[in-house]
């Protein structure tokens, strides 16, 4: 079941690399959040406990509801143009993504021969990390950078489930809270950037140089 969810996660990565709408990014974030929540919920279906349900619910709340709605709100409030404005052609980007994923999958399967890990979630998570970085590098809009950062975070989360590291729940919640506050602060910063710079692109941020 974990494999199935990870494959769906990878599919969403492909979608995020072809879509040219900011809305598409937000939808993908929602979708990924949902997948992660289900992934965390799975172990608790077997031995149910009230305590264990807190993490999936918080995850659902933060990653599926709060963060995407907040980004949507920013887009609406700031009247950001709905296209992402890539710096390279989408098809080149997609080719890059495919090449990266091939490399990651092959190397993960090689790694899995010596280490005990879940290959598919591992490779999907790692791909998400790489693609998050690509999004940050190859897109001009700052709001898309935020989405790229979140894709990266989701990748790390999936990756964490793959290496079967069980952090204490308090820390998992702390991580979630941190991510949410980062996005919140970035949203506020975007708000200010709009009133100061009249633009939302990286090229607008070029004042600080030596």
């Amino acid at each position: 079941m974990e494999n199935v969810l990870s494959i769906l996660f990878s599919l969403s990565l492909f979608y995020v690399s072809v879509t040219s709408r900011v809305k598409g990014y937000v939808a993908v974030l929602r979708f990924q959040g949902l997948i992660l929540s289900v992934l965390v919920l799975l172990p608790f279906l077997k031995n149910f406990s009230i305590f264990g349900i807190i993490l999936p619910i918080t995850l659902l709340l933060v990653k599926v509801i709060l963060i995407p709605s907040y980004i949507n709100k920013i887009i609406l409030d700031l009247d950001i143009k709905r296209v992402i404005e890539p710096t390279i052609q989408q098809i080149v980007f997609l080719l890059l993504v495919i090449a990266t994923m091939i490399v990651i999958f092959i190397s993960s399967s090689v790694i899995a021969q010596s280490t005990e890990l879940n290959v598919i979630p591992f490779a999907s998570g790692f791909s998400a990390i790489a693609i998050g970085i690509y999004i940050i590098i190859f897109r001009k809009k700052l709001i898309v950078h935020v989405c790229g950062f979140l894709v990266l975070e989701n990748g790390i989360f999936l990756f964490g489930t793959a290496v079967a590291s069980e952090l204490p729940m308090m820390i998992e919640l702390g991580v979630l809270l941190d991510v949410f506050v980062v996005v919140f602060l970035m949203g506020i910063a975007l708000n200010k950037i709009r009133s100061t710079f009249e633009g939302f692109e990286v090229t607008d941020l070029g004042r600080l140089k030596d």
Partner: protein
């Protein structure tokens, strides 16, 4: 017995292909709030075209004359290789997926040749576009069907489909993923909506339609009919994923066939209603997306066994 079943399969494909198109068009009309042509309209169209005289351009050579027929024949051959329901198709041997792909390629090749043969720059443009997008569409077929062939270990369409077990959950997900990319392939190959609009006659946007603009009568009949068959072939390719081959019964087979066709026609209609045509420069990335899905399938299966 096998031969009889195979012949019946081909006849089913030939017979129902126009009906499927009619179904799609009718549903699309309903979704956009029109009454729409009757479902049987494609049959009337074919009948009308059949009666008309064939005129070829003065500049055209023998290619224009035999390419429609060749087109039609190769599609019938392709249809003969496709399993309908649980039946073994007429032509089935190890490695027939390659033949299947290239028979379809052959028909496209001659269609492109014929379009250039006519001598109008207009058709030439369409031919160029068709060739370009075919370049991107071909990997989709090979990566998707190829990955399933990898998984099952068979190289014949019939065997591949028979090896699918629906009780394995991860198998199911792969089937769903594969059917997404096959759907995208079908949309491209049959020049349906996000890639090409079958209804417009606007020179800037046409891909497929423009190639047969100068054909008439019997030639056009053959072209049209083969394009109907093509769409239906891809439909069956998609429906075949969902047959429960472990329990074979006619009732289940027929039910899935009918239900699958209905669902797919609805899906096509919905997609055509809610999406607009892509810009010409965005089409390759759309196709590459489908290829990427196929590659993902292949990767997952090859490296996780």
């Amino acid at each position: 017995m096998d031969i009889l079943q195979g012949i019946i399969s081909v006849l089913i494909i030939l017979g129902f292909a126009p009906l499927f198109i009619g179904l799609v068009n009718k549903q699309k009309a309903k979704l956009t709030g029109r009454i729409g042509a009757p479902i049987l309209q494609p049959y009337y169209e074919l009948q009308r075209l059949f009666k008309k005289e064939t005129i070829n351009a003065n500049t055209s050579s023998f290619i224009s004359r035999f390419s429609p027929l060749l087109n039609f024949v190769s599609l019938i051959t392709a249809a003969a290789m496709l399993p309908v329901g649980f039946w073994k198709p007429l032509i089935s041997f190890n490695g027939d997926i390659i033949l299947f792909a290239y028979i379809l390629g052959l028909s496209r090749f001659f269609q492109i040749l014929a379009a250039m043969d006519i001598g109008s720059s207009f058709e030439g443009m369409g031919a160029a576009r068709e060739a370009t997008f075919a370049l991107f569409a071909e990997p989709i077929f090979f990566f998707t069907i190829g990955s399933i062939s990898f998984i099952s270990g068979y190289t014949s369409l019939f065997d591949i489909y028979h090896s699918i077990q629906l009780d394995n959950i991860s198998y199911e997900v792969f089937i769903v993923i594969c059917s997404i990319s096959v759907f995208m392939l079908a949309v491209t190959e049959c020049s349906r909506m996000p890639v090409d609009d079958p209804n417009t006659h606007l020179e800037l946007t046409m891909i497929h339609e423009v190639m047969i603009l100068d054909n008439s009568g019997l030639d056009l009949f053959l072209y049209q009919y083969s394009s109907y068959i093509k769409l239906f072939i891809y439909t069956i390719l998609e429906i075949s994923f969902f047959y429960p081959f472990s329990q074979q019964s006619y009732l289940v087979g027929i039910l899935i066939f009918v239900f699958g066709s209905l669902v797919l026609s609805l899906a096509l209609a919905v997609v055509e209603t809610i999406t607009s045509r892509y810009k010409m420069k965005n089409i390759p990335q759309y196709l590459l997306f489908a290829t990427a899905i196929g590659i993902l399938n292949l990767l997952i299966y090859t490296f996780t066994k």
